[in-house]
Structures are given as C-alpha cells and as structure tokens.
C-alpha cells in the first residue's frame, strides 16, 4: 500500500468521522432546534403583520386577524420546510449541507464583541484567542518536555528520572481546571500578581487591548504548562529509553561517539515519529479540554463560548462550535498521520 493510498484512506475516515459527529449533534439537538425555529418564525410573522397598519384595518374582528396570522405562519413554515420533522432526509441533508458550507445561521442570545449575531462571526472572533493560548502552551510544554525527558532518559533510575516520573504521575492525576482554581487562589488572592478573570477589562478597540490580553493570558498559560509538561516529559523519556536500548545506539557508543550527541541527535531523531504524533494529538486534545479551562479562567475564546452557549442553550452556536472543534481535532490527527508517515518510512512502505 503506497503512502498516498494510506493518506487517502485516512482522509476518508476523517471525513466519515466529521459527518458522523455532525449527524449525532444534529440528531441530538434536532427536535429542540425545530421548536426554536418554529417559535422564531411565529414571532417574525406576527410582528411583521401587527406592524403593518394597512393589513390590520382590513380585518373586521380580532379572531379573523388571528386566523390570518396563523395561516401566514403555516405558509412560512412550509416555505422553510419546517412542516416536515427534522429527521426527514431532505431536512437532515439541508442542515448538514449548510453546516459544511460554514453557514451556521444566527445565534439566539450570544453576540460577538462587535455585536454581530452571526455564528460564523462569533466563532471567528474567538478562534484566534483559543489558538493563541493553547498553541503557546503546547509549544512551551513540548520544549520543556523534550529537554526534561532527554535528561531523565540519559540517567535512568537516577534521582532526576524518578522525580520526573513521580511528577508526571501526580500532575496528571489533578484535573487541569482544579489546578486553575488553585492558581487563581494563589496568584489572584494570596499574592495578587495576576487578574483572577482572564477577560481583559479594556475594550477591544483600545490599542492596549492586545497587551492586556497577553497579561491576562499568563495565569492560564502557567497552569497549562505546569500540568502538561510532566506527563509529556515522561512520554519522551519512555520513547528515548526504548530507542537507547537498540543495537545501533550500542554500536555508536562502542564507536566512542559523544554520549550527548548520541542522545540529542541520533536517539531523538529516532524517537521523533511517536513524539510528533502525540504532540499533534495533544494539541487537538487540549482544544477539546479548552471548554473547561477557559470557563475557569474566563478566557474569551471558543471554549468559554461553548460553555456560555450551553448555559443558555444557544443551539446554532453549539452546533457550529462542535463542527469547528471536530474539524480542528481531525485536521490535527490527519497532520499527525502525515508527519508519522514522513518521519517513519516503514509506514510508507507498508
């Protein structure tokens, strides 16, 4: 099987996952969505008619007017296809098609900072902040992790190795958001260095906004790094220990090549495929976890948007966000696949 075929197969699976996730989401919120759409149609039609003085005058009694309004609502529902239940293939297909083309409709309650209620605008506004926070965190985590992991693997069973392992196990047992609460307690209450709420207080239009955003980002960033790098360096250590036991390393050692050089150039290169894969997966995984992390720190990104949308059951936003998060997740898995194949020729030649 060639690498291209392998990738094509993965791409098809990914697309299947995207569709399945969407279908599940639409199916789960479908009936609620119907009620909401019908309500908004009814309100729309009613206000349109009652605001039009000429129509109202033409009716002899309020009952006749009411009947006329109901008829108009029915007609409008038929035009929009709302007369059929949400699970008919037509409506499902239409819903999926609209989501695929990034047409998420309008949010019910939530708006973007600039006041737009278009779900696409809201998500696009929040996305850079989430990417900023989590990409920065992942980059820092992976740098620290690779360094610490390499040091630990070069001295297996030493004190530093044991501390790394212990820290990895313990730090991954705490929920990130709980450590977040603790950090807020420590650095916003006991030592008031950072703000407790990560939403900048200056308006978006202010030139100092981005500086303020960076300052507010420090506490969530520190938390993510603190919780993340332990298990990450443990993983790197384990991969490296595996590679360091291979024959070619022994041969290099016997040839008298510098130990550090073996570790950082030869061993690390060989451990790269799984490390990079997990890095890509970790990034996407942390994006999913952003929902809780951003809620704790009140970081104005996609995760908090999702949390707010659930609070008020803003279905268009929920569907749009699920789609975007899933797409992110899948793209990074796909990237991990490509990178793995690139770094590990065995996958290509399979």
């Amino acid at each position: 099987m060639g690498f291209a075929r392998y990738l094509a197969k993965r791409a098809i699976t990914m697309f299947g996952v995207l569709m399945a996730t969407l279908l599940i989401t639409v199916a789960l919120v479908g009936s609620n969505m119907d009620t909401i759409l019908k309500q908004s149609v009814a309100v729309e039609v009613r206000t349109a008619i009652t605001n039009d003085k000429h129509i109202i005058i033409d009716f002899p009694s309020p009952e006749a007017l009411e009947k006329y309004i109901q008829d108009q609502i029915k007609q409008r529902e038929i035009v929009l296809g709302l007369d059929k239940p949400w699970y008919t293939p037509q409506r499902l297909g239409l819903a999926m098609y609209r989501i695929l083309t990034l047409d998420f409709g309008h949010a019910k309650f939530l708006t973007s900072d600039t006041g737009s209620s278009d779900v696409k605008d809201i998500i696009l506004e929040k996305m850079p902040r989430t990417i900023l926070l989590f990409t920065t965190a992942t980059v820092i985590i992976s740098i620290i992790g690779i360094l610490v992991g390499a040091i630990a693997s070069s001295k297996v069973n030493s004190k530093i190795d044991k501390i790394t392992s212990a820290f990895a196990v313990i730090s991954s047992s705490f929920p990130v958001w709980w450590v977040g609460l603790l950090m807020i307690f420590l650095f916003a209450f006991v030592y008031p260095i950072f703000p407790a709420r990560a939403t900048p207080t200056v308006p978006v239009t202010d030139p100092g906004y981005y500086l303020s955003l960076l300052y507010h980002m420090s506490l969530p960033l520190i938390t993510l790094v603190l919780i993340g790098f332990g298990s990450w360096s443990y993983l790197v250590r384990n991969f490296l220990v595996g590679v360091l036991q291979e024959d070619f390393i022994m041969a290099k050692k016997a040839a008298g090549i510098d130990k550090k050089k073996i570790l950082y150039s030869h061993a690390l290169k060989n451990a790269a495929p799984p490390i990079i894969t997990i890095l890509a997966l970790g990034l996407s995984g942390s994006l999913g976890g952003s929902i809780i992390t951003e809620a704790v720190f009140d970081w104005p990104g996609m995760g908090r948007l999702y949390y707010e949308a659930i609070g008020v059951l803003d279905l268009p936003v929920i569907i749009g966000e699920t789609y975007v998060l899933t797409a992110f997740f899948l793209v990074s898995i796909f990237l991990a696949d490509i990178l793995y194949g690139y770094f590990d020729p065995r996958v290509r030649r399979q």
Partner: protein, 453 residues
C-alpha cells in the same frame, strides 16, 4: 504472555507502589462505608435544600485551623441538651442544660435556642446562663402561646431578642463599662472589669414550666454562632462540606469503577472478536473504531448531557460509549497474535465454535492486561465526570466532588480565598485517581517486563 494468578499476586506484593495504591483504595472504601453508615441517604436529598442547613454558619473555615492560630476563632457549636423532667403536684417542669467550655479569643457572633414543645395550657419559658465566675444572668422569661388542646410548637429564641437585652442591662451595675451598645453575646461572655472574653465553663439553662397540662420537649438545641465549623468547614450555602466530601467518595468510586469495567469489557470483546474474525469483519469493525476514536469526546459528552439527560447512570453510559476504543485496538492486535498460536489452531481443527475459542482460549490470555487497563482507565473516568459536574452538567441529586467545585467556582471561592472549599475536593479526586494509577502501574510492570528496566 501467560501468568498464573499466583505469580501475579506474588509479583504484586513485591511492588511497593502497587501496595500503596491498594492501601489508599482500602481507605477510600473505608470512607465510603463510613458515609453509608453515618450519613443516611435522606440527608443526601437535603444537600441542595437550603432550609436544612440554616443552623450552620456561612463560609466557615474548618475548626482545626485554630491549632495554627495564636488567636482562637470561636467555633460554631451546635449543643445538644442534658434534659430532665420534674413533676411536683400540678406543676411540670422540663429543664435543658447546655454546657460549653468557651476557650476562644473573641465573642460568638450570636446564639440561638431552638426547640419543639408539645403541650396544652400556657407554659412559661425561662433562660439563664451560669458564668465561669459564678454569676448567673437571667436572659429571658416569656410564655408560649396558649393551647387548649395538645399542640406542637416550634420556636427559637435569638440572642438579638430585645427583652433579653433589657434583662441583661439590669445587671449594668456589675459591669464597669457601659452595656448600651453591646450585643447580648458580648455581655454574656464578657469579663466584669473590661469588655474582654471571659474564658471558662458556661452553662445555659432553659426551663419550661407548665401548670395543669402535660409538657414534653424535643428537637431542642443550642447554637453558638462562630466562624469556624467542623472538620471541613462550610460553604457559602451553609452546607457542611464534610458531608459532601464523604458522600463524594462512594460516588466517585462507583463512577470510576463502573465506567472502566464497562468500557474495558466492551473494548476487549469487540477487539478480540474483530481480530479473531479478521478480513472484512475486522476491516469494518476497525473503521467504526477509528470513527469513535477520532470523535471529540468532551463536546459530545456535553451535548449528550444537555439533550439526553444527566442522571448519574446515563453519564456512566456516555463515558463507556467513548471509553472502549483504545482497549479495542490493543486487544485486537493481541488477538491477532494469539489466534496464530498452535493451541488455538488445534481447537479450531477440533471443531470448537468461534465464540467458545474467543472466551475460553483468547480472552483468558488477555486478562492480566485487562486488569491493568481497568485500573489505568479509572482516573480518566473520574476526572471526566468531575469535569462535566464542574460545568454544571452533573447529576444534581448527588453531591459529587466535581459539583462541590462547580459551586465553589460559581461563588468565586478562589478569588475570595475560600481555600477549604477548593482544595479538599481536588485532592480527593487526585488521591482516588492515584490509587488506581499506582495499582495499574504495578500490574503493568508485571505484564510488560520491558518497563522494569
């Protein structure tokens, strides 16, 4: 790849980390039993009912904080009476004595006497306090509403009562400072020469007299208001956090163990079946596995909890739906190896049925690995459920640790420095997770000897 149970047990007993894990788990089970025995399931329903927590203080620190403080903060005390009934002729009198050894460095915020009386007629109630210096202060004397037929009356006497203040001010000659602006508590617990705390034994005495009718008292208690309470303190809604933390233990264990056992068994059977059947079946089953594997878990869990429901059993089910995939992948590849072994071939040739081979010959080989993965997947389940509860999507009828943290976060406990509301639930989550990680790690070193190096 095969291990006898004896070998596994011996290896396990040699592993210190595994033993620590077992030890913690044992302690957690002990806590669960204590929770079941001491706290009736009924009080579980009261957890979210503010009315049942009125006698407790608001956001009080744990009482043991006093050991670390030079100035002892008054503890919130709920005193139970020493009751006695006397009868002489027509007169019946019930006396409740509440003794307290007051050794704190500031005045109590208030005190409340709560009682339920069953009587007919019109009884009189007297309340007085005997101080460590021997002085007896009359606090209140009043009558209960009269009742012709036997009636039940529940009442409270507050230290803010005006007539109590008036009674105390009658003693102003004995105090060398003005009592005008002081509250009743500040007078009762004060030294005579200056308005400072008088430490020692106080006895509050409540007597109810009734002439001609019958009289019985129940549910009477004396609440001495303070700023620290109990082992774990209380939250903003006056709830005793010790109750919530204790009940969280069996709930977390239930969620963690059910989810991991469920998903490991499901994944094991699914993976082994796919691996054993091979070909088209394997291909289709693994594609489905890929699809579930690549789904974003948390967003879908949230949508499921919002739309389908958030009872604790449903959440366990949702977690199983997303939990089985990893195990299915590994057990499939293991099954692929095992089915090539000669004894499996032999039993196939002997005409054994497929499912019999799976359950009799392949799955038993995978059991050690299974136990390790059950243990390792418990913390993930506990943390995910806690996360859902933290978002406010957990089962509202049970006080889980995640829920306590959700309340803490929504009342801004972190910014306000209410550490006793935040730290214990998180530590409990981590300890429970660690117990299983340790055990899983110990199992892993037995199953994969490569890790021992």
């Amino acid at each position: 790849m095969s291990f006898s149970p004896r070998e596994i047990r011996d290896e396990f007993l040699k592993n210190n980390i595994g033993l620590i894990g077992i030890g913690i788990l044992g302690a957690l089970f002990g806590l669960s039993i204590i929770a079941f025995v001491t706290i009736p399931a009924e009080s579980l329903r009261q957890w979210n009912d503010p009315a049942s927590w009125l006698a407790y203080p608001k956001s009080a620190m744990p009482a043991w904080i006093n050991y670390f403080l030079p100035q002892k903060i008054p503890e919130h005390l709920v005193l139970l009476p020493q009751a006695s009934t006397q009868k002489s002729g027509d007169i019946i009198s019930v006396t409740n004595l509440f003794a307290v050894d007051y050794q704190y460095d500031s005045f109590p915020s208030d005190f409340i006497y709560q009682y339920g009386a069953k009587y007919s007629g019109s009884p009189l109630i007297f309340m007085s306090v005997a101080r460590p210096d021997g002085m007896v202060l009359q606090l209140i004397s009043t009558s209960l509403p009269s009742a012709r037929t036997e009636a039940k009356f529940t009442g409270m006497i507050f230290s803010t009562d005006d007539s109590m203040k008036k009674n105390l001010k009658n003693n102003s000659g004995k105090f060398s400072f003005s009592l005008d602006t002081l509250s009743s508590g500040d007078i009762v617990f004060s030294k005579l020469d200056q308005n400072k705390i008088l430490k020692g034994h106080y006895i509050f005495k409540v007597t109810i007299y009734n002439v001609g009718g019958n009289l019985s008292l129940d549910e009477s208690k004396f609440i001495l208001g303070g700023k620290v309470y109990g082992l774990m303190g209380t939250d903003e809604l006056r709830r005793d956090l010790a109750v919530g933390l204790l009940w969280g233990t069996p709930l977390a264990l239930f969620i963690g163990i059910t989810v991991s056992v469920g998903s490991v068994i499901l994944g094991l059977v699914y993976g082994v079946f796919a691996g054993y059947k091979g070909k088209k079946t394997d291909e289709t089953m693994m594609r489905l596995n890929d699809i579930v594997y690549a789904m974003p878990v948390l967003p879908l869990l949230i949508i499921l909890a919002v739309t389908v429901g958030n009872s604790i059993f449903l959440i366990v089910g949702f977690l199983v739906i997303f939990g089985w995939v990893g195990i299915a992948k590994v057990s499939r590849s293991m099954a692929l190896q095992i089915k090539e072994l000669q004894y499996v071939e032999a039993s196939k040739l002997m005409g054994q049925k497929g499912w019999k081979i799976i359950f009799k010959h392949i799955i038993p080989q995978l059991l050690p690995y299974t136990f390790a993965s059950i243990a390792i997947s418990v913390p993930g389940a506990i943390i995910t459920e806690a996360g859902l509860s933290f978002l406010g999507l957990g089962d509202p009828t049970f006080p889980t640790w995640g829920q306590i943290l959700h309340d803490a976060s929504s009342y801004g406990a972190a910014e306000r420095g209410l550490w006793w509301w935040i730290i214990p639930p998180g530590i409990m989550i981590a300890i429970t997770g660690l117990a299983f990680v340790f055990m899983g790690h110990a199992m892993d070193t037995i199953v994969n000897p490569k890790l021992r190096r």
